[in-house]
Symmetry: C2
Subunit: 351 residues, 2 copies
């Protein structure tokens, strides 16, 4: 899944180059490239499918030149994750209804990739023999209020690391998140799913029947030259809904494979800060700097730029080339307000 | 005089483009161009001489294409203002010992240019008939500790606005500056001088005899094709000294013409702030901005850059393209420290 237009890393992330196509962590690889390489030991190149917006098709192929054009599924407009997953599931079912389908966002960060692959492998093995849905749940390390949480049913434990899912809860308030963690029954919802196309399509039919009808209506055309044209017709008719809200919260046929190694969706400057190397004063740096009396800042500028700062604490300083943004780290939720203001005054030029 | 390499506006001012070649005030004209145009109604184009460093000769001619190459006097190295003025005085004396010579820095700001020209005209008229030195003294508006002060001898008043000079005082402490202003006897030393070449050369001979000997030794070659080559030989032998310390403080033959309209040497970000237009929150802006809770800042970035800032007060934010500097306005004296640090780590690349 590589269709997001996320604005939380503005001004670095832009409509024309959203987060999955950026190397925000400074690893030397974009998120989408890292995601591809993370799964490559498990999945033959020809079995990858990338669902993205039509506007990003070329970006996908530039980042993953190993793919053929037909492996990039283009959505004419963004409609959240349910239609994205439905499209890939219908395409895959037409080719092989018994395939095991792994669904993953393309902009996440995983600390121990080998451990992560073992988790996914075991989940895929489970799904090969169970007609169920499965999600990867990450052992929480603190009460993050931006994540979804999965509650497990300890009486439904299938193996050491696989549990029956009891509930899904989106973005809880802080006290609730803390109570979740205290209980030991909750895991972060990573947004990574494993299932067979047949099984998820059955769930789509049950919970999102109109969406099912739309994708089913063009069943003869998947994997044919006409597919793209028909998708352009039916896809905009789908309602925008996430797979969590549209499907996962409405089924009791889901299991979770627990992952106990580090993972983050790097969804905010704050989580970028948490997962980045820091200097002795707690600053996350991306360039040559001369800092005086400056602590706990994130400084992100073009790599050939020199940065001199005195007396700044807990700020985000981002220079995207055409935009300079300076704001307190704990005000980063205001970035949407900044974008609105810039858009109001200057149109889409800097968006 | 256009040879300075001033670092106080770093990172905007650079060794390769010092302040006189910049439009720091955003007037649409560089300081040197503004200076040229300020004097143009008084002085025929062919009578201008610009003394600068060899490295800036092309910059001068680009800013003032009206000049012929021979009107740009090139110093091989910076030696402060006394050798600069000596060179121009010897050159001018060789052409016309009775000329009236107006000496001016090329990086100052004048509010009322017409009023300023009247001041200079009256001073030039006085010098035409008096074998004296003359300086323009600016009525002080506050106890600036970065300027030099001229004390006048009220008993030696020659006209409504012309006084005999009693003392020169460089950069006094704050209490002294305040007492100066209180007394009514002191004026800011603008660094603008009017005299005949013959008279100033006599003073150089008296106060700086070694420097006099050097320039006198090549007397036959001024205004000849050999001049530049001889200057390259003798000029580096001069000791570095300002005209104020080397000559003005050692003579009692100086008058001051008082100027009562606005003037500033715009020597610091602070004085730039004072002389610039501000938004309703006291910010000096040079680009498109979206500011939230941000007051009394100077924001200077390339003109096509968008700036978004939240929660910053009394800061200087400067983006020169390759350098981003953020520091409190009242720490601007630390810029020299920043430059040293950058130079230590990165060499001359950003200097």
């Amino acid at each position: 899944m590589a269709g997001g237009v996320g604005s939380r890393f503005w001004p670095i992330s832009r409509n024309s180059r959203p987060k999955q196509f950026l190397d925000i962590l400074g690893t030397g690889k974009t998120f989408i490239r890292s995601t591809f390489e993370r799964f490559l030991p498990l999945v033959p190149v020809e079995n990858f499918l990338v669902v993205t917006n039509t506007a990003y098709c070329d970006l996908v192929l530039r980042e993953i030149p190993e793919l053929e054009r037909h492996q990039v599924l283009c959505e004419p407009i963004g409609r959240n994750t349910a239609p994205c997953i439905a499209y890939a599931a219908f395409r895959l079912r037409a080719a092989d209804p018994e395939a095991v389908m792994i669904v993953t966002p393309s902009d996440h960060f995983v600390v121990d990739e080998a451990e992560f692959r073992e988790v996914v492998s075991e989940a895929a093995g489970f799904i090969d023999t169970h007609h169920s849905l499965m999600t990867i749940g990450v052992e929480p390390t603190y009460p993050n209020t931006g994540y979804g949480y999965i509650q497990v049913d300890n009486s439904g434990q299938m193996s050491e690391q696989i549990y029956k899912v009891k509930t899904f809860t989106e973005k809880p308030p802080l006290e609730m998140a803390a109570a979740f963690i205290e209980s030991g029954e909750f895991y972060w919802n990573s947004g990574i799913f494993i299932w067979k196309p047949d099984v998820i399509i059955r769930e789509i039919k049950r919970s999102l029947p109109e969406m099912y009808d739309l994708f089913e209506s063009i069943a003869p055309y998947y994997n044919t030259p006409e597919e793209a044209e028909f998708i352009r017709t039916i896809h905009p008719e789908c309602k925008a809904v996430s797979v969590d809200v549209g499907i996962m919260e409405k089924t009791d046929n889901t299991y979770v494979r627990v992952c106990r190694s580090g993972w983050s969706d790097i969804g905010t400057w704050g989580s970028l800060y948490e997962h980045s190397e820091k200097d002795q004063n707690g600053n996350v740096l991306s360039a040559d700097t001369a800092l005086f009396d400056t602590r706990n800042c994130i400084i992100k500028v073009p790599e050939d730029k020199m940065v001199v700062i005195e007396s700044l604490e807990n700020y985000i300083v981002v220079d995207s080339g055409d935009v300079l943004m300076i704001c307190p780290k704990d005000h980063e939720q205001n970035i949407k307000k900044y974008i609105e203001e810039v858009k109001f005054n200057k149109g889409d030029k800097f968006i």
